[in-house]
């Protein structure tokens, strides 16, 4: 879970983790209420199915000491929340709600119960499309412009596997669509660049020339144009793709990159590598 770790939070990790997990949703409260109902008014079978596992989970997964102990053996910081998936919320809550509706004394009571339950459901969660539903523009579920950029790069490049540095979203998506385009920066490095600032020491690190590219592309920092071309050269980056409103387009052009193409919202810049380089797949035929 981002921003949380067991070492810092100790036994309070669970509380924080749980709060982040549930967010504004009240389904765990509904589950607790349903469990109490089952304990008091449930049948023997319902108690057998729902109570022991819930109590066992309460003593283990929902025990504040558990993540602390587990963390000594495994790194659970980022994944402990997945244990919350084990509580059968998706079974018990709908089951009890349905049962209350269908076992109502008469039709009118059943209808009123259904309305109350619908109201509870409406206020208990956050709709998955609360920020709007975005339909895929094509069967690939990729931005059409990304597909255009891919085509543009291949049309322009003589290389079978051109290497590119793309703006954030395209960098995460390009190789899903086009594995022939190699990327200069991987996911973790890019995520670091968009969430943290590079220190001067990091930027002067000769072993990681991609930091300079990320500083310019993701952090909009002013980098010396010679250092930029050195970084492009060292990483064998042939193309840089930026949003057309990106503040550092001029910097890249000053560094000698030329415009290879343009889509509605993106600019494809080309860098002519001084030492030609061709990526080749490893020949495993000599092994077998």
């Amino acid at each position: 879970m981002q921003g949380l770790n067991v070492t810092e939070n100790g036994i309070w990790y669970l509380r924080e983790c749980f709060a982040n997990y549930t967010g504004p949703c009240a389904y765990f409260m509904l589950f607790a209420a349903a469990l109490v109902y089952i304990c008091i008014k449930g049948t023997k079978r319902e108690k057998q199915i729902f109570v022991p596992c819930s109590v066992f989970l309460l003593l283990t997964v929902y025990n504040p000491v558990s993540p602390v102990i587990l963390d000594r053996f495994f790194d659970v910081n980022s994944e402990y929340y997945r244990f919350f998936w084990l509580l059968p919320v998706i079974v018990l809550v709908p089951y009890l709600m349905t049962k209350l509706i269908v076992t109502a004394k008469d039709k009118n009571t059943g209808a009123v119960t259904a309305v109350i339950i619908a109201a509870i459901l409406l206020v208990s969660g956050r709709f998955v499309y609360a920020d709007g539903i975005e339909l895929a523009g094509n069967i690939y579920k990729m931005p059409p412009e990304l597909m255009e950029v891919s085509e543009m790069i291949h049309d322009d490049s003589a290389s079978a596997y051109p290497k590119a540095m793309l703006e954030y979203e395209y960098n995460m998506q390009m190789r899903q669509y086009d594995p022939k385009i190699l990327l200069t920066v991987d996911r973790e490095e890019y995520m670091y660049a968009v969430t943290s600032q590079y220190t001067d020491e990091m930027l002067s690190d000769e072993t990681h020339p991609q930091y300079k590219l990320l500083a310019a592309v993701a952090q909009y920092r002013e980098i010396d144009k010679d250092e930029l071309t050195d970084a492009l050269e060292a990483t064998k980056t042939q193309y840089v793709v930026l949003n057309s409103g990106h503040p550092r387009i001029g910097l890249f052009k000053d560094a000698g990159l030329t415009e290879a193409g343009r889509t509605g919202g993106h600019v494809v810049l080309k860098y002519d590598i001084k030492e030609p380089y061709e990526f080749e797949l490893v020949d495993y035929s000599v092994v077998y």
């Binding site: 998936w85 079974v91 709908p94 190789r175 899903q176 594995p179 990327l183």
Partner: protein, 380 residues
């Protein structure tokens, strides 16, 4: 072109279900015992990935090409499907007749259930979602097909890797996707984000249906301490009220999956990252085990209950490494109290057998992280 793509997705989903039915029918087959058709399909899904794991892992360890795996996997599947058709053909016909009879008897219920599933299938296949993990999972399929290798090139950048990343080594689910994409020419994005997304969504709803029926139809009839056998007979005469309850419960499940949303919930994974292994483990595998537990709790699981649990646990572990920590815990919280309550000590070996795959995979990963071993992608 759009129609052709839609047809590809529909055909892909249908083919998947034929495969799962064929695989599942083989292990849910027992003389004089009936297994629900839908349970055979769900267990078949996990059994399919269980078998694939054993065919895949050795060629991958010895850096053989993906095309070699494809050549091994296709005949394996063909033999299993043919064998299953010969052994289970009459069962399938019987199931189809029963299904037709059910539709005829409960047309409104059938329509409502289909509508609930269709809404979700359309949502997951037609919406655009940007997720960072797809940069690994989908790109891994695309990269494997492009390079004709398995897990050798880094999906993020395309660079060659000198060793296998053990976090993903045993999760061979994506290699199965790669095999299908290589064999059919279907692009990785269409296969994963449409075909597998719809397949997983339908499977998850099948398990929801099984759970709801178990709770309402069997639960109602179980009152009055009917014997398991008489309750089974009564099951076929389930009344309309119970069927309506099943529909209402599935509708509430749909609402919860649409609204229990933070970036961490299993519902979010199901609705937006359906094709990912984590979504399959967090929704399909977890609820399938819960369903098997309910049947075993009611003593209504006469067909190899622990084998089915084992297949689900092992199959899930080959789909996502998240299963390695989740399912042993789930097995423990569900089955240990039941074993103690029933004093069914003979179940303990079965329980341990189901826990072992996850524990072993976890230990292997810990040894890798601690630096005790590494699998290189070339001879050394």
């Amino acid at each position: 072109m759009i129609m052709l793509n839609i047809l590809t997705v529909i055909l892909g989903v249908i083919c998947n279900f034929i495969l799962y039915l064929s695989f599942g029918s083989l292990i849910t087959r027992k003389k004089d015992h009936k297994c629900p058709f839908l349970l055979s399909v769900v267990v078949g899904f996990f059994f399919y990935y269980f078998v694939f794991f054993f065919v895949c892992v050795i060629p991958m360890k010895y850096y053989r090409p993906l095309s070699m795996l494809t050549k091994m996997w296709v005949p394996t599947v063909a033999v299993i499907v043919l064998l299953s058709a010969v052994l289970n053909g009459s069962r399938w016909v019987g199931w189809l007749r029963n299904a037709a009879g059910y539709v005829k008897k409960h047309p409104a219920v059938t329509l409502c259930i289909l509508l609930i599933v269709l809404i979700q299938a359309v949502l997951v296949s037609c919406t655009y979602n940007f997720t960072l993990d797809a940069a690994y999972y989908v790109a891994n399929v695309a990269t494997s097909v492009e390079t004709d290798m398995m897990n050798v090139y880094d999906p993020f950048t395309g660079a060659w890797q000198d060793h296998y990343e053990m976090r993903y080594f045993f999760a061979t689910y994506q290699m199965q996707d790669s095999v299908v994409c290589q064999l059919t020419g279907i692009p990785a994005l269409i296969w994963t984000k449409s075909v597998m997304a719809v397949t997983v969504m339908v499977l998850t709803n099948i398990v929801y249906l099984l759970v709801a029926r178990e709770l309402f139809i069997y639960g109602d009839l179980f009152k009055g301490s009917a014997t398991a056998k008489s309750a089974d007979e009564s099951l076929s005469r389930s009344n309309s009220r119970a069927e309506a309850s099943v529909v209402i419960m599935m509708a509430v499940m749909l609402v919860i999956n649409l609204t229990f949303i933070t970036i961490y919930t299993s519902s979010l994974f199901l609705m937006t990252r359906t094709y990912e292994g984590k979504a399959i483990v967090g929704n399909l595998a977890v609820i399938t085990l819960f369903y098997l537990f309910m049947r075993m709790n009611d003593d209504r699981m006469s067909i190899r209950p622990w084998l089915l649990n084992f297949v689900v646990c092992f199959g899930a572990a080959t789909i996502s490494s998240s299963a390695n920590m989740l399912l042993p815990v789930e097995l423990t919280v569900l089955f240990l109290p039941m074993i103690v309550r029933k004093k069914a000590w003979r179940m303990i070996p079965g329980y341990f057998a189901c826990v072992i795959p996850g524990v072993v995979f976890s230990l292997i990963f810990v040894l890798y992280v601690k630096g005790y071993f590494v699998f290189y992608t070339f001879p050394k």
